[in-house]
Symmetry: C2
Subunit: 249 residues, 2 copies
């Protein structure tokens, strides 16, 4: 590369996170996206002109522009000649995009956001469990059992345990046989994964999540839609309670 100093820093000399790994445009998009979703860059904020902004970030204009395209694709910003690039109103944000969800959760999510999130889960996932109980294949059931075993063996304190938890929920959504539902739920789950890790760090003795998971599994195994729905409802309520303890401790 031509004239790029290895530790990117702005004109004032304030160095920022390395952005070392991965693609630069992705890192910049993530950086700006987090600031937008977290309210550091408020709605209506107009960014500096691309040339200046790129220089202050220590990246090329191409990289900044590609980052803006990513944010535009997620509805966070919009650009127009002469007017510049500005942060869109929340109404235009792709709220269900996995990144937009994750960026919001990372930055001290508001009570309203968490309320909305769990309200949506409560609207969708019990019905999804109902459908999974009706439509699941034996193979999916076996995979779910394996995921639960792994989850119990490694616990949510480990990365592998949390991965197993997500795999279980993913399999459940897959069993519901609805691609859109799967997309919705995987967005939500990947966002929630952030908080699950946080819960483990904060709580000294986190509640054992296995009972409600096993209960849900049994109803799906028994092809009992009504009870599967109720079991999922219980599971989400417990997850919400855990999160409230973890966040407002």
């Amino acid at each position: 590369m031509t004239g790029m100093d290895e530790d990117r820093q702005d004109k004032d000399g304030a160095a920022f996170a390395p952005l070392a790994t991965g693609r630069l445009h992705h890192a910049v998009a993530q950086r700006l996206g987090t600031q937008i979703a977290g309210g550091v860059l408020p709605v209506g904020h107009v960014f500096a002109a691309e040339v200046d902004h790129a220089e202050s970030l220590g990246v090329s204009r191409s990289v900044l522009r590609e980052a803006f395209r990513i944010l535009t694709a997620k509805g966070l910003v919009s650009s127009r000649p002469k007017a510049g690039t500005r942060v869109n109103e929340r109404r235009k944000w792709s709220m269900l995009d996995p990144d937009v969800l994750a960026w919001q959760i990372q930055s001290e999510p508001s009570d309203a956001f968490l309320r909305d999130l769990f309200e949506l889960r409560m609207m969708v996932e019990p019905q999804a469990a109902e459908m999974a109980a009706q439509r699941r294949s034996d193979e999916q059931l076996a995979d779910m059992a394996n995921a639960l075993d792994a989850m119990e063996r490694y616990t949510l304190a480990t990365e592998k345990g949390r991965a197993a938890d997500q795999r279980f929920h993913g399999l459940l959504m897959e069993a519901a046989q609805n691609e859109l539902l799967y997309g919705l739920s995987s967005s939500i789950m990947s966002a929630i994964a952030w908080t699950t890790a946080a819960k483990q760090r904060v709580q000294e003795a986190p509640r054992d999540p296995m009972p409600e998971h096993r209960a849900l599994y049994r109803e799906i195994e028994a092809r009992n839609p009504r009870q599967a729905q109720k079991a999922m409802r219980v599971l989400i309520e417990l997850a919400l309670a855990d999160m409230e303890v973890a966040l407002r401790r």
Copy 2:
């Protein structure tokens, strides 16, 4: 611009849609996104190297790259040095992204997709109506009434009428007081708008959609959650029936 022929065409001389209006990177993203969502470019497809691909599209490499960043942000493709840019498996697509939804609907949507879509609507929107009936403000109610009046006055055969229909549903979701729900429903509605226009073109005497809309409105006005939920259910069922008639005529 330096050396750009006005009618973009590939090396074989096969001219394609002007892409005249709007931003070029957006047009290219839309073009490729439609082809991906429509299955013309199948999962696993590897695009030509950027330099060649850009030339064959008649755009600069920057434009093509920015288009790829948009598609990447929506999960449709992923790029790696040496390996190239390829179409992701459907599991990775952001199925609830408004564009991804619209691109799928534009290209002869599969029965499975429409089934999934209306199944999701049926899962979410009745509950949303229930919440709207509980939480709506008088002002929102008045706006909804205005939207319905406009919808009746202009009918769904006109652009203004369809806009009023979308406004009504948007207001309803807004009244439900859940930003995530609003995002979900506006994605779905904007995608469905495409088919609403198509229905009007195809059916010589489309069914009058006002009765079920008025019925839904009355229940929200009366703050009757249970009945609002049922009314929404009826509305969606009718919309589904209309669509089936329009598509499989």
